[in-house]
Symmetry: C2
Subunit: 449 residues, 2 copies
């Protein structure tokens, strides 16, 4: 067992009953768990037992109109992750928050608070929101355009990072004798006045243990990749093949150089959905079992929604209407995912029904069905080929899919010297090998009284 091999990083993508769309119907699943903290505690503790770097909660602020088919809601990330911080001691806790439907002051503060509570384990998946189900819970205006959302995101991050730097590391003096609690020279207003935000600062919490919580992003478009390259320290991405993964990896790391950032300051983590069996046949049988529980009515909805075209009138066992779909690509807000589905269908010559099943497990993320050895092989292949720094683990079904991964695949990775056998650091930054950010200077000190 050699430790000279490149170490991979593992993030657990928590998602209600699992990533397979029919997971909630599986006999092992616990749909009642999604509002039960004990359910999440069990998953988080299993992930920590497996020495995973972090766990991650996706989030949105609206419900899809398909609630009857699917467990879609979940506990709110800040509250849930703070609770999980108390039930774990090492694993990183990554929450999603949108820059489109929040105020920078609130978000900056909640992540610092979570970072204090967890002892430096907070991370933020920065998203700009998708869909009007979210938009209409905040106003009668539809979701802003893609470019507008990213412009706001850029300014949002400027404000948040300035707020995170508004307390110097040693601002708190706590000198009881002389009655000096804070050194006012080390507390700074930010006086941000921009296109979207006016924020005076300082933040009302001392600097986070990690300096800044770890910044995570999942941009797929050109704008999104630029944004991620400029600041993200971990990137989630959906890649269907190793070759696509290599192209994405090379592209984003090259963009980082353009932004003056060293490529090792970001970990790229493609989604990875393993259906695990002790034999290959057992794994295939597991996948079949899950696929049998899917509801075509929901699959057609999901596909129609993603491809922005009503597919209900097309025969399930016929091909996709490629010509019409190509025209739609222009107006599609999720262009990258759209493209990925079309390429998959064409490459494998799939009918609508087959495409639904092919993406039921992982919604366009890479999915593999096999033994622990086959799965570890594939992970190693992606790392070695420069397609990934680690993976965003998406078990098809909780809790069993996670238990199996931790009990069977993790030891295999550890035996190969690819993955830690013990946590070495205490913070999320340390797990990912990310440097603590320097404070930017040039802010004005808060006037003494």
């Amino acid at each position: 067992m050699s430790r000279s091999k490149k170490q991979l990083h593992l993030n657990l993508f928590l998602r209600n009953t699992g990533h397979h769309e029919a997971s909630w119907r599986h006999p092992d699943s616990q749909p009642g768990g999604v509002t039960d903290i004990a359910y999440y505690v069990r998953l988080a503790q299993t992930a920590e037992r497996g020495k995973l770097d972090s766990l991650f909660l996706a989030d949105s602020y609206g419900l899809p109109p398909t609630m009857q088919f699917l467990v879609q809601q979940a506990l709110e990330p800040f509250t849930l992750l703070s609770a999980l911080a108390m039930a774990t001691s090492r694993i990183g806790l990554i929450g999603t928050a949108s820059t489109t439907y929040n105020e920078p002051f609130h978000i900056a503060r909640k992540f610092v608070s979570l970072d204090h509570i967890s002892g430096g384990r907070a991370g933020w998946n920065i998203v700009t929101s998708t869909g009007n189900a979210t938009a209409f819970n905040f106003s009668d205006a539809p979701l802003p355009e893609h470019s507008e959302r990213y412009r706001r995101a850029g300014e949002f991050m400027e404000v948040v990072r300035a707020l995170w730097d508004s307390w110097e590391e040693d601002a708190v003096v706590g000198d009881k004798e002389n009655g000096l609690y804070v050194n006012p020279a080390k507390l700074h207003e930010i006086r941000h006045a921009g296109e979207y935000f006016n924020v005076r600062g300082p933040l009302n919490l001392p600097r986070a243990p990690q300096g800044h919580p770890v910044l995570v992003q999942a941009g797929a478009s050109d704008t999104g990749r630029e944004f991620a390259s400029s600041l993200a320290e971990a990137v989630f991405t959906a890649q269907n093949t190793l070759e696509d993964g290599q192209r994405f990896y090379a592209d984003v790391k090259a963009r980082m150089l353009k932004h003056g950032r060293s490529p090792d300051r970001m970990k790229i983590l493609p989604g990875f959905c393993p259906v695990i069996g002790d034999t290959h046949a057992e794994a295939v049988e597991k996948e079949r079992e899950l696929n049998e529980l899917t509801q075509p009515e929901y699959g057609v909805y999901r596909l129609s929604n993603l491809l922005k075209m009503d597919l209900r009138d097309y025969p399930l066992d016929g091909p996709l209407p490629y010509a019409e779909l190509a025209r739609n690509a222009e107006i599609n807000s999720q262009k990258a995912r759209h493209q990925l589905y079309l390429e998959l269908a064409q490459r494998e010559n799939l009918t609508i029904r087959q495409l639904i099943l092919r993406t039921a497990t992982s919604r366009g993320h890479y999915s593999i069905t096999g033994t622990p050895v086959e799965i570890a092989d594939e992970m190693e292949r992606w790392i070695d080929a420069g397609a990934a720094d680690g993976f965003n683990l998406m078990p098809p079904c909780f809790p069993t899919g996670l238990d199996e991964f931790v009990d069977k695949v993790v030891p295999e990775l550890q035996n190969r010297g690819l993955f830690r056998t013990e946590y070495e650091g205490a913070t999320l930054r340390e797990h990912y090998g990310l440097a603590k950010p320097e404070r930017t200077s040039g802010q004005r000190a808060v006037a003494a009284k």
Copy 2:
């Protein structure tokens, strides 16, 4: 020991190092604790050992310009209370959120999430914010006028309560066999379109265990009292004398009748700040010790701020400039507290320095210095006189002031049959004896797909 006596309710008002403004300088205090979750866990567990109904976190979104004199910042309420939910099992968890600088969807959801995580122990102290230190972290506009803030608060509550009712109690079916997760007929859009908010709904979380988290408010003005009477289930208030307490109690309960609410659907909890000694002399000595640690520079700032008049040029050992101050009352946004200070100074004929010390312990709340028996006597007197349903406990110094209360005053109250010796219920509603709210009807079901 008779259980026929009216039971009193106790809420612990958590506040960094304690309620005395110089508490952080006391040898017993732990100013470093305010960003350390272990510090809060210890306090919460002590309060739970004392069988207190709830604990409460005040909050604002800005720092005062007096940071050097005082520990003022604290962990953020949603994250902190969710963490405390995991370290306790019975005590209620009341967080503050402002209706002026938040979106109803986010607040509705976070409280439901906290209610699920804590098993029905969430409460919300509804505030409208004060001061431009908060305002300027959200825009370049100053704090909206008092009446404007309450108008927005009214509509905010309409939206939040509709969102809380947007899932019927039995909306989640979880029928794996037939593939029906949610019954779409029991999930409702709210389609709110008002002056301040447009919110479609439904919420993206199933109904809270308590139906609605407990609503707490602390309005003191006429508008504030109207607001509280219309919906609050617990009211915090600052009352300097038992007689003032009686007047406030009678007034608010009478207003409830006007709103068609039974007076027992609200618990009135005046602030109560006990400085406890085994002998009366010891208690007095404790108070003197704390007062000696105050910093006049800060005291004058606090008074100037509250009375909206710069007092730095007036002699500390002279009287308040009553004539000038009377003129200021008109423009004062915290009129009630302002009034309370002036009355106190006049009634007791205090100099500026004496008023500073007199309010250093509890900032205008009722404060008592004495033995456990004297303190229990006073509590009983307030309850019997119809001035309170219980108290908002404000220990001058943490953790010692809380330890002493739990170890010495609580048993005294229990011996008198005034306070529970064990939790009887599981939820915050049950501790306060508040009924679970009914769902309002008349919302439209979410279209099936």
